[in-house]
């Protein structure tokens, strides 16, 4: 581990990307070999799902690589677009009315860019309060001016919520990238990667645990796989990943474990909340094969990150007292 610490920052991050691309490549090759070997019908469905997941992972990893390689501005723009597409998907599935048109325009074309500008210019105090304070105030005013009281609270709340998850939550990922930690300049990209890996590890851990353990689900009407035991397993998996990666973080091993576990737990709980939301909207999967909207399923994949990023971001700031 001492050797790893002595590498330069970009060498460390580069090494990590090499390892990740290698793992993903190996997984892809393994999956491909298995499709050649056996092809019973019920296996084929599973393989198709696996192939889709792998493709999403490739896209995600390449995106992070581009974000790291091309610097903070490009990566902020990149995350801004992810935010845009996620919010588009969210709004599609909520029943907005004609009177919401102006508020939605404001959300997409003013609030979203503004939030990312605040990130890019590192105004972290303004960035933290912009949406919870100013947008929270301004949106209902615009909506009320549209002169339509029908289900006003519900409509306004849904738009607020969409902005909070898709814009506010998501924007904390590029914010991590730009956070100046003591003796840790220029390694923000690694923190983002650390966060993402913790969240992914927690999800995989939870998924595996819920299949193996077959515990009674806590909230059957919302998720058949969510149990406290599986949730704990996910958080532990995230913690283990955190410890394994501590050498490239600004944390000592134990805090690294705690940070990763917190991020992973927030991610899986966020996913659980999103499931409730989907049940409410009447879809099982944001993407689905013949979905109402042709939604691409992006929200499904980024939602855990949207929930975990703010928690992680503020834990890091609190830990370092900045």
């Amino acid at each position: 581990m001492g050797d790893l610490r002595s590498l330069t920052v970009s060498q460390q991050v580069g090494l990590l990307f090499v390892v990740l691309f290698g793992l993903l490549g190996a997984a892809t090759v393994a999956a491909f070999v298995r499709t050649i070997r056996d092809s019973s019908p019920e296996r084929r469905g599973m393989q198709k799902r696996l192939a889709r997941e792998l493709r999403a992972l490739w896209v995600g990893l390449v995106m992070f690589w581009i974000a790291w390689a091309s610097g903070p501005v490009v990566s902020t723009v990149l995350f801004g677009f992810v935010s845009f597409f996620a919010l588009r998907e969210f709004v599609t599935l909520t029943h907005t009315r004609r009177a919401d048109h102006r508020s939605l325009l404001l959300a997409f074309f003013a609030i979203l860019p503004m939030q990312y500008v605040l990130v890019a210019t590192r105004q972290f105090n303004a960035f933290t309060v912009f949406i919870p304070v100013y947008v929270f105030f301004a949106l209902p005013v615009i909506s009320a001016l549209a002169n339509d009281p029908f289900r006003f609270l519900e409509r306004t709340a849904k738009i607020q919520w969409g902005i909070t998850v898709c814009v506010y939550g998501m924007s904390h990922a590029p914010a991590l990238l730009l956070l100046d930690l003591p003796a840790y300049q220029g390694r923000g990209a690694f923190l983002v990667l650390f966060l993402v890996l913790a969240v992914v590890a927690a999800q995989i851990g939870q998924e595996v645990a819920s299949r193996r353990l077959r515990r009674r689900p806590v909230a059957r009407a919302i998720s058949r796989s969510f149990s406290w035991r599986a949730f704990g397993a996910g958080a532990i998996a995230a913690g283990i990943v955190g410890v394994l990666l501590f050498w490239a973080t600004p944390f000592k091993p134990l805090p690294a474990l705690a940070m990763a576990a917190v991020a992973g737990a927030a991610g899986t709980l966020g996913e659980f909340v999103m499931k409730a939301l989907k049940r409410d909207a009447g879809v099982r999967n944001w993407l689905g094969n013949s979905s109402v909207t042709g939604a691409v399923g992006l929200l499904d994949r980024v939602a855990p990150l949207c929930f975990a990023a703010p928690v992680f971001f503020h834990s890091v700031r609190w830990y370092f007292g900045i």
Binding site: F84, R88, E89, T92, L104, F109, G294
Partner: protein, 211 residues
């Protein structure tokens, strides 16, 4: 690449960015056959959405109908409809002796385009509707079906677009939309006008379930 082509690509890109403009084919395939697509009409955005949802090679041969008085009233409108969309212009008014306009069959420009082998997109309701279901169809579709029995009539359902740009608004809100193309509807021998139009309308509404 020429100016209009580039502008067309840019427009299709924006339409996809804002709405996703996903085309789903249920019962017909995206082939370059001569067709009339007939769709529900709720927004000015409808045509752009269908156009963006079509594959590139079909876009080139598929033309919209544009009201001549409105879409030639400014150089920009005229340029967009003529150069980018290659629109078929129709006059909204019949004979107007005061202006010296001859009595022209409003369907004649459409017939001519069909004789040239072009595909068309028409909105048989005649105007933009705001109800959940499309209004009853006007008879133009029947006349075209009679005159061109070999041209496929494809029912088309546009979903969600009224949320993208409600009447009176100019800036579209990003919301995902789908365009569903259904199985061709053909005029049965001896079928009555009203019966055919109602059947065509039902075929469009039926696509809502798969949207």
């Amino acid at each position: 690449m020429t100016g209009p082509e580039a502008a067309g690509l840019a427009l299709a890109f924006i339409a996809r960015l804002v709405t996703g403009a996903q085309g789903h084919w249920h019962g017909s395939a995206p082939k370059a056959e001569q067709r009339i697509y007939f769709a529900n009409h709720q927004s000015h955005f409808d045509w752009v959405l269908i156009w963006a949802a079509l594959p590139d090679d079909l876009r080139a041969v598929t033309r919209p109908i544009a009201a001549r008085d409105y879409w030639t009233s400014s150089p920009l409108k005229h340029w967009i409809t003529r150069e980018i969309f290659n629109a078929v212009y129709v006059s909204r008014h019949r004979a107007d002796p005061a202006a010296g306009v001859e009595d022209e069959d409003p369907l004649e420009p459409l017939m001519e385009a069909l004789r040239n082998g072009d595909s068309l997109v028409i909105f048989p309701e005649g105007t933009r509707g705001h109800a959940a279901e499309p209004a009853s169809f006007k008879s133009g579709l029947y006349a075209l079906a009679q005159a061109f029995p070999d041209v496929q009539l494809i029912p088309t359902w546009i979903d969600n677009v009224q949320r993208v740009m409600p009447k009176g608004e100019v800036v579209p809100v990003p919301i995902l939309c789908t365009v569903v193309f259904g199985a061709p509807v053909a005029l049965a021998p001896g079928e009555e006008r009203r019966a055919f139009l109602d059947r065509a309308r039902a075929a469009v509404i039926a696509l809502r379930a798969v949207a």
